[in-house]
Symmetry: C3
């Protein structure tokens, strides 16, 4: 499925001209993903590999001996967490994932304290910092920055894999993978994600998690999406076009009440008013897009409620106690899927598989 | 002595109505303390256990092999240091304690960089961060916050023990334990803490370390306390009432000079003028409550001088060289007692005891 | 060569009266360097030991088993990185060096969050923090501060070695050592540093790396230095005097073009305009002191280009791809030499040597 075709073989100018869907082949090495730059780079086998691996890691981690085995897997490697945009939860999740697989970490968080102030280019800064590490996990406010760095390092004597932990408005691949993993895990006994219906609710125009996840769902069979939002915050036409091309079923609506009893999963999101340009949020009554304790009665018994967190008023706190509330487990799923992603990059899957088989025997 | 009665079994409203002395039973699990929330929760056997364990850990740590043994004890666990109030020394002490017992750590220090800015509740933030960890060590400006979090997490699918590393004005249990350990260790050859007299000097009205330590001393026999301070900064009536109820002997005085030759330990404190509401500090000449080189001559040969640090002018720097100056050793005692506290929470005492017995054989 | 003569045996007042060259004997313990305070303390055998050790560590680190061996060497020790002056690259380099040899670390970076704000002296702060650690690595804006702390801790019950990671304008010994290591490694097949000619270019008046490196080169035979800078930024007379006393050959010039074809190494530096007092930098056209792609043709085939980084316009980015551009490798050399320095302080060289000999057999 993947071909060896590293970033080194293409100029930056030519790379940028490529449509997104054609870029992923440049992220591979030894026939499998090396950089993790955007969600669209993954096909179904890759996602299934990550989910399997995450579950194995999670089960192995339940015992003291298992944890020690995991911590041995990448003990000789070091990861740099370069977060020039603050994000405590993503930072801690990646940091915990590194600790689970035994990687030591270094961090650059406040880029104002780095030498950039002395007139150095950002490229030089990141290349310098990366000299000390074997993996870069980076979050940056500028879209495409992680791709730029991956390309740049690929053209040095010491290439290092790059994981995009959020850049700009659109790309945050590990978040999309954790959402897939949460769905997969929740529907494990019910045939997986195939054939399920999923409602996305809230600010669909600007939430990058929804946009990425919706695209990934087209790799599964018979999935139906409901996009539930006021007009001003509805899903973009670009996403609908991707789904159309994949012949994926969907509905666009502003009627949350009628959707609740229909679906297997409800994906709630926060109104991202920090991106408001013309008071899109305050001009709309978003309280119709909240999930309350009263709504629980109308939800299917085996449906689940997800949320990428942080939440404001979208989900009433008393909903937390219902077993269908899956958003707290979703947080931990993020840690497991990130551990899986890292193990996969360094091709240590095989060791996990062998340990797991011994464990299950 | 302790009973299993986890926080889960009581509502937050009912819990808050309990007098402090009745709360401790809710912090236990498997018959021993699980959360460390305030000094008053500990009885004498618990404190003696911590002191014994701290000494064993300290002695084991003297060799390379011993350190490696210790680092193996909790290598599969991770601790979150959540410090929303700055405190480098307490932070480093807990961090070092975690490293000694092999725990990996993550930290949240500047809570302004967390997603709280996006409108998330503090409860949601801490619950999210705790998802990645097995232990929470937290410092917070609001009194009772650590208790609130301990109760909250006890009511989730994934409870995690909570250590209060300082919350509000009153609670900082590991500081009180390190003071007890310093006294115990200093008087090891003289029958321990029983029968000793201890002077507390300086700002007794607002120093939480003095208030906590004074309360713990009532568990020992024949201890006498001297509270030496100007009227405006004297010890609170609430503490004296606790001592009265325990029939503990004490004297309240403003005459430091006459107390010096009488006591086995002098506990110096800093004037905490950051809490001044009506210039309490500047209206008083606090220089009478300083310990100088000249005072060393009048101090008993086997007495000790303590200070929780940081100090200003309370102790002349040249006093440091006197072997009775115990405050620098006190700093390191904090690290050992915190390591003991953590091992006890995870019930790894037994492994330490066995290793220690082999070592002593 | 070294004698045991620890800092403890001399008063601070007497120590300060010593000329720099006489101070180094006070940094030793068990006959070898214990504190790393300034570049001038090292003689040629010490530097050769560090270079050898760095190369062995570097080669051992190439395999997973080798990394695990290294990480075991100082696993029972902890280092404090006390950086009261921001420096991401030096911080990360030392942090990576510690990780390579297995040391756990703690950090104090923003000293404003420490208790210094409560009126504590800096000496008390550092002594408190050092209580939790076995090694201090410190960067401080005040010259001589690391020496002061080394002396202070030597006079306590718990002395701890101190590495100066940059203090004031003049001292940054590990930077000088990494430069020596880069030269040594680059000329390994050509008889080492002896007999080579090296051009220092740019801001020689204020760059501490140039000043330190120039002094160290006098320990090698037949080295010739070219100091290439505009008058306002030329090398100080104090350095020239040191070279004169050692009979080292040098030329002072402002003609970069004519020097390029003559030398074996070009050490480019940044204009440090942050130290400008009277617009020294802006009144000079420094563009004559830039190295461009066009200059590559005139450079010897086996010469190298160095730069301590960060760079601005001194070296054209397209020069990076030339194999003679050594500044990115120089960055990683810093990590290896720092690991060597730390291993040497704790006298773990022997274990490295034995492992290396087994490896080479």
């Amino acid at each position: 499925m993947y071909q060896d075709n590293p970033l080194k073989s293409i100029s930056w100018a030519d790379y940028q001209k490529l449509p997104v869907t054609d870029r992923a082949t440049y992220f591979c090495r030894n026939g499998h993903p090396y950089h993790a730059l955007f969600a669209q780079q993954y096909d179904r086998p890759a996602m299934e590999r990550f989910c399997d691996l995450a579950t194995r890691v999670r089960k192995i981690a339940k015992t003291r001996g298992g944890m020690r085995f995991l911590q041995d897997l990448l003990a000789e490697k070091r990861a740099m967490l370069y977060f020039s945009q603050p994000s405590t939860r993503t930072f801690l999740s990646f940091s915990a994932a590194c600790q689970i697989v035994g990687m030591q970490t270094g961090e650059v968080r406040d880029t104002a304290t780095s030498s950039e102030i002395k007139g150095e280019t950002q490229e030089d800064s990141v290349r310098t910092f990366s000299s000390y590490f074997d993996l870069l996990i980076m979050r940056h406010p500028v879209g495409g920055f992680a791709e730029r760095i991956a390309w740049l390092l690929s053209n040095t004597e010491r290439p290092v894999p790059v994981i995009n932990a959020g850049s700009g408005k659109d790309q945050h691949p590990s978040q999309a993978l954790l959402d897939i993993y949460t769905l997969q895990r929740s529907f494990e006994q019910r045939g997986g994600i195939d054939g399920k219906s999923i409602a996305f609710v809230g600010d669909l125009a600007r939430g990058r998690t929804v946009r990425s996840l919706a695209c990934l769902l087209r790799h599964y069979d018979g999935v139906k999406a409901y996009f539930v939002a006021p007009d001003a915050l509805q899903i973009g036409a670009d996403i609908l076009q991707v789904l159309d091309e994949a012949n994926m079923d969907y509905e666009v609506t502003d009627d949350f009440a009628s959707v609740i009893p229909e679906v297997d999963a409800i994906y709630m999101t926060r109104i991202q008013d920090e991106w408001d340009q013309a008071q899109e949020s305050s001009s709309v009554d978003t309280s119709h897009y909240h999930f309350t304790v009263a709504d629980l009665d109308r939800l299917k018994d085996d449906a689940i409620i997800m949320h990428p967190l942080p939440r404001r008023a979208e989900i009433e706190p008393d909903v937390d106690r219902d077993p269908r509330a899956m958003y707290w487990r979703q947080v931990r799923n993020g840690m497991w899927i990130r551990a899986a992603l890292i193990l996969n990059i360094f091709e240590r899957d095989g060791e996990v598989d062998r340990y797991y088989q011994d464990l299950m025997r």
